[in-house]
């Protein structure tokens, strides 16, 4: 590799004059000579780092943005899935004849292989069955396609399924008991999706309980020995914390429009990963990828649950193939709640030992959680990665239950892990008589600051900024606010990993009329990557975002990354910038003669081609383009390895574990608690975050607002309720599955620091996951500060608050 180097800014720029971070310049080795010159800090750029309105905003506010749910193709049929109402059953037979005779019905398909669920490692452990064994209520069985949605609904009710019901268990505690009904009659496994989740291979399983997965500090080869550490401790805190199952509840449900043609399968999908949908279609239907096109122009939210083709997509594609017509299959809200993902529950027993100076000597965390028939309930990452501790051991268990499978959900495992860890750290601070922020200053230290992962460094500044903003110095002692309605302030921290998907490519074209196109398979799930790409390319070409046409969400373009794990920005903006840079080199080569200058003497600034150092001699970008010899110049670039060799994820799907954390994030909450009704009201949140170089502060602010609000909703309201007697979800809707709405929104102050690490040509990262990790913990710590007792279970309902006040176990 070439010994190319770039001199880059490294360090933190904070918006407060009190806590300005230190900014230096370093020389970074870059992976190839094709890398553009390093960008200076945002202050010195003209487009990047400035608030930019969404370039697709007009389409969204006028209703012209077409989502998968809105796709209409000529002759399109409508499909409806037949689902099991049993939580556990063997399917003896399926009779579709009555459904097939219904008017308007064009195709019926029975599912023979179930996806998105753990699978028995050894299928012979179970009686052979023609159809997948039903392991949760809502499991798909078959699907019907008809001319109208109503006809499909009617026909689906006529599919006769003969079930042999089996004993089932839906409750985590019940499922752990000896003799509990077995969800799987042997060990089961499940890999993760592009958004994370899944379970490690080769973990032991007894009954429904799979584990433990034993780990030490993140990056360490071996777990520590907490007994040794507790023996050395002066102070020990311990507690058990419980979190509920949360459903993703994206506004647009999962779904596809599948159009099977002999030469090409086109699937419009509401997905976070166009590439993951194509990969799985190729596998299931044994098609070359070149004969599959997946399109996601607009999508209505996913939060981790929308990767791959899903059972619904397989069914729709079979139906389209059978009927010879396009098939639309969008789930309804009930199906969305029960069958396509959730955040697993957790029961976390945590024990922390520390010296009198607050330094941790031991941390032990045991977690049990259920993702239904799916894996991925581990919640120990925050404990493994946040604080320095010489003797650290975590043991994670997945507990199978007869409930819908979990899926990656915005920072899998982390909001639940931070809820327990951050309360335990606060308890430790209280016991030691140290301010919670001071304690964190002592124990939140980067293990290897030279590695380029500086999340502790970021959090140190974030704690200062947040404390100042929320008025931490005025915080009273826990429970000291007099009267019936008590106010309190609390804080909590988070962390996330600076992943990049190296399967990320982008093409930039400059056309002879001066227009510019950016093409990539990457999809915009709401974070605003469409606009960020326009900014990055505009910055490189000396244009404005409005000058850039961004065409994304289509697998006919260069492969884009999946949008999960806060990877999108870090993955796709460096190749976009590099492609723009290289296309610009070709462009300048072609137009240089028109300016009578060497290409190397030309620069792109302010919508012009400028001859550097020649008294401002220039030509407009459009006029220059008209002088191009060819209709277009273009460059396609794939995501290079990170500069400095840090933190990059190898390839899709997620392989291996992140070496270290990368993003921090500290949130402060101010609450008031009515001690007679038990109602918690969050009045204000100060959210202080880092995500590398911020590209679009306007959209980042929106995403952080969203992370905070999802976090409060998780902390106070949301809860999937299953009926133990029938195994059915009791609240599969939006009126009983309670989600925070307009009336519950607190004042949110977003503070964003600029964090330069010199890791790529944009040095930019994501904010989706970091923004929701600390929230529930911060609210819980604020509640404790208000009322003087801890609520250790989510959601923190009025009943639980009152029980905590009464010193009783919550109901």
């Amino acid at each position: 590799m070439a010994d190319e180097k770039r001199r880059m800014p490294v360090g933190i720029v904070s918006p407060s004059s009190h806590f300005r971070g230190e900014l230096t310049q370093v020389d970074r080795a870059v992976p190839s000579p094709g890398e553009p010159p390093a960008w200076p800090v945002n202050e010195k750029l003209s487009v990047v780092g400035k608030p930019a309105q969404r370039i697709d905003g007009r389409l969204k506010v006028t209703g012209r943005a077409r989502y998968t749910a809105d796709i209409r193709l000529p002759g399109m049929l409508h499909a409806r899935i037949v689902r099991s109402a049993h939580a556990h059953a063997r399917v003896r037979s399926i009779d579709t004849s009555a459904a097939e005779r219904q008017p308007g019905v064009r195709a019926v398909h029975v599912l023979h292989h179930l996806r998105d669920s753990a699978q028995l490692t050894d299928p012979s452990k179970e009686l052979a069955s023609r159809y997948p064994v039903v392991r949760y209520a809502g499991q798909p069985i078959a699907a019907v396609a008809a001319d109208t949605p109503a006809q499909a609904d009617d026909a689906a009710r006529l599919v006769r399924v003969d079930y042999e019901p089996l004993p089932f268990v839906v409750d985590l505690d019940d499922a752990r008991k000896p003799g509990a009904p077995l969800v799987f009659p042997g060990p089961a496994e499940q890999g993760g999706s592009g958004g994370g989740g899944g379970g490690a291979k080769g973990v032991s399983q007894v009954g429904n309980v799979r584990g433990p997965k034993r780990s030490g500090p993140i990056g360490a080869a071996e777990p520590g020995d907490p007994d040794k550490g507790f023996a050395a401790a002066k102070v020990v805190v311990e507690g058990t914390f419980r979190t509920q199952v949360q459903t993703h509840s994206a506004m647009e449900t999962h779904g596809v429009v599948a159009d099977w043609k002999p030469d090409m399968l086109t699937v419009h999908a509401s997905t976070q990963g166009t590439a993951s949908v194509r990969d799985e279609l190729a596998e299931v239907f044994e098609l070359p990828k070149s004969r599959i096109r997946v399109v996601t122009e607009f999508m209505g939210g996913g939060f981790g649950s929308k990767f791959g083709i899903g059972n619904f997509g397989v069914l729709a594609t079979h139906l389209s193939k059978k009927a010879g017509a396009p098939v639309r299959l969008m789930l309804d809200r009930h199906e969305e709640h029960t069958s396509v993902g959730n955040r697993p529950s957790s029961v976390q027993r945590i024990r922390i030992g520390a010296g009198s100076d607050g330094k941790l000597t031991a941390l032990y965390l045991e977690t049990h959680g259920t993702g239904g028939v799916g894996l991925g309930a581990g919640a120990a990452r925050p404990a493994q990665a946040m604080y320095q501790c010489p003797q650290l051991l975590t043991e994670e268990y997945d507990v199978f239950t007869n409930a819908g499978p979990s899926a990656a959900f915005r920072a899998p495992g982390h909001p639940q892990g931070a809820f327990a860890l951050e309360q335990a750290i606060d308890e430790l601070a209280e016991k030691l008589g140290i301010d919670p922020i001071d304690l964190r200053d002592r124990i939140d230290v980067d293990p290897d600051p030279e590695s380029g992962n500086g999340d502790s460094q970021s959090r140190r500044i974030e704690r200062r900024l947040g404390a100042e903003k929320i008025g931490w110095s005025k915080r009273g002692k826990a429970g000291s606010d007099p009267g019936r309605v008590k106010r309190g302030i609390g804080m909590a921290q988070g962390l996330w990993y600076r992943f990049a998907d190296l399967d990320s490519a982008c093409e930039v074209r400059i056309l002879r009329d001066g227009s510019v196109e950016v093409l990539s398979g990457v999809q915009d799930i709401g974070g605003g990557i469409r606009t960020a790409l326009a900014q990055v390319v505009a910055e490189e070409l000396g244009l404005t975002p409005a000058d850039i046409t961004v065409r994304i969400g289509d697998t006919t373009f260069p492969p884009g990354p999946g949008s999960g794990g806060s990877t999108t920005t870090n993955s796709i903006t460096p190749p976009a910038r590099n492609a723009a840079y290289q296309a610009a080199r070709s462009f300048l080569g072609q137009v240089a003669p028109a300016l009578g200058a060497e290409p190397s003497a030309l620069a792109l600034q302010g919508g012009k081609v400028v001859v550097v150092g020649d008294g401002g001699r220039s030509l407009g970008f459009r006029q220059a383009a008209a002088r191009m010899r060819t209709e277009q110049v273009s460059a396609t670039v794939a995501r290079p390895e990170d500069y400095h060799g840090v933190g990059a994820r190898k390839a899709r799907p997620a392989q291996g574990r992140p070496r270290l954390a990368g993003y921090g994030g500290v949130q402060f909450a101010a609450v008031r608690v009515d001690t007679e009704t038990g109602i918690i009201h969050v009045e204000r949140v100060v959210a202080v975050h880092d995500c590398g170089r911020p590209l679009n502060p306007l959209a980042l602010e929106s995403q952080i607002n969203g992370g905070v609000l999802q976090g409060i909703s998780y902390a106070l309201y949301e809860n999937r309720v299953l009926d133990r007697g029938r195994g059915l979800m009791l609240n599969p809707n939006f009126e009983q599955y309670k989600i925070l709405g307009a009336r519950e929104v607190p004042q949110i102050d977003v503070v964003l620091i600029e964090e330069y690490r010199g890791l790529s040509s944009t040095d930019a990262g994501g904010i989706g996951e970091p923004s929701t990790v600390p929230t529930a913990g911060a609210v819980a710590n604020a509640v404790h500060n208000a009322i003087g007792v801890r609520v250790r279970e989510l959601p923190m309902t009025p009943a639980r608050v009152l029980a905590a006040l009464a010193g009783k176990e919550a109901p």
């Binding site: 006028t62 989502y67 509840s249 506004m251 209505g300 939210g301 309804d332 969203g706 809707n733 929104v745």
Partner: protein, 219 residues
């Protein structure tokens, strides 16, 4: 949380029901394919729907005319079809979204007689002869409604799926109250679910749109 059972504040639910049945009661009370409706229809010239104390319609399609964004549109719908379905499927007006299909997320908000309603809880037959405004009809030509402008400027959208319904609620608020407080905006959007959590910008944008409209009128 959304308002349980009622997605619009009282002021926005002034419209009289034209039929004596609710959609849910209706669906629950009929068989799988046989639908019969007793009409209590007093106004409007309705192709295919005669006046009279009682008439049985369906289960097949019934030709009706809908006045959408100022234009008379003739469609044929089953009596059980909701206004949301008729708009989306028959008229390809897909800006109106369906998020829950039971009146608890307001993604499907349109104006009926100028009042925001959940089009997933309104029968298409109920909307006959009454002016319907959808998100596609809010702009005048290429000139956006001030709320639409402000939503772009203040980034009051993320995935954008709830955005049309949210805008219909906020624009209706400005129609009846040109000087709303933030509390008024919260109330107006209390039924509009946004899973991306974009509410702070929605409040900001709507208040800015109100200010801009007032300035425009004064200037």
């Amino acid at each position: 949380m959304s308002d349980h059972g009622s997605t619009k504040p009282p002021a926005e639910r002034r419209s009289r029901p034209r039929f004596t049945l609710t959609r849910r009661g209706f669906l629950a009370g009929t068989g799988v394919t046989v639908a019969a409706v007793t009409l209590d229809c007093k106004h409007g010239e309705t192709p295919g729907i005669a006046h009279g104390p009682a008439e049985v319609l369906g289960p097949g399609r019934v030709p009706i005319a809908l006045r959408v964004n100022g234009v008379e549109k003739r469609v044929a719908v089953e009596p059980r079809a909701t206004l949301a379905e008729a708009l989306r499927l028959e008229l390809d007006l897909t800006g109106t979204k369906i998020g829950c299909d039971r009146g608890s997320c307001s993604a499907c908000t349109v104006w009926l007689d100028g009042v925001p309603v959940c089009s997933c809880m309104t029968f298409a037959l109920d909307a006959v002869g009454r002016p319907i405004t959808t998100i596609e009809g809010l702009a005048v030509g290429e000139r956006l409604h001030p709320v639409q402008e402000a939503f772009i400027e203040h980034d009051a959208m993320q995935c954008g799926f709830c955005t049309p319904g949210m805008i219909m609620s906020c624009a209706a608020l400005l129609g009846r109250n040109p000087s709303p407080t933030e509390e008024d905006v919260r109330t107006a959007t209390s039924g509009n679910l946004c899973r991306c959590g974009t509410y702070p910008k929605v409040f900001e944008a709507t208040l800015a749109a109100a200010r801009a409209s007032r300035m425009g009128k004064e200037g």
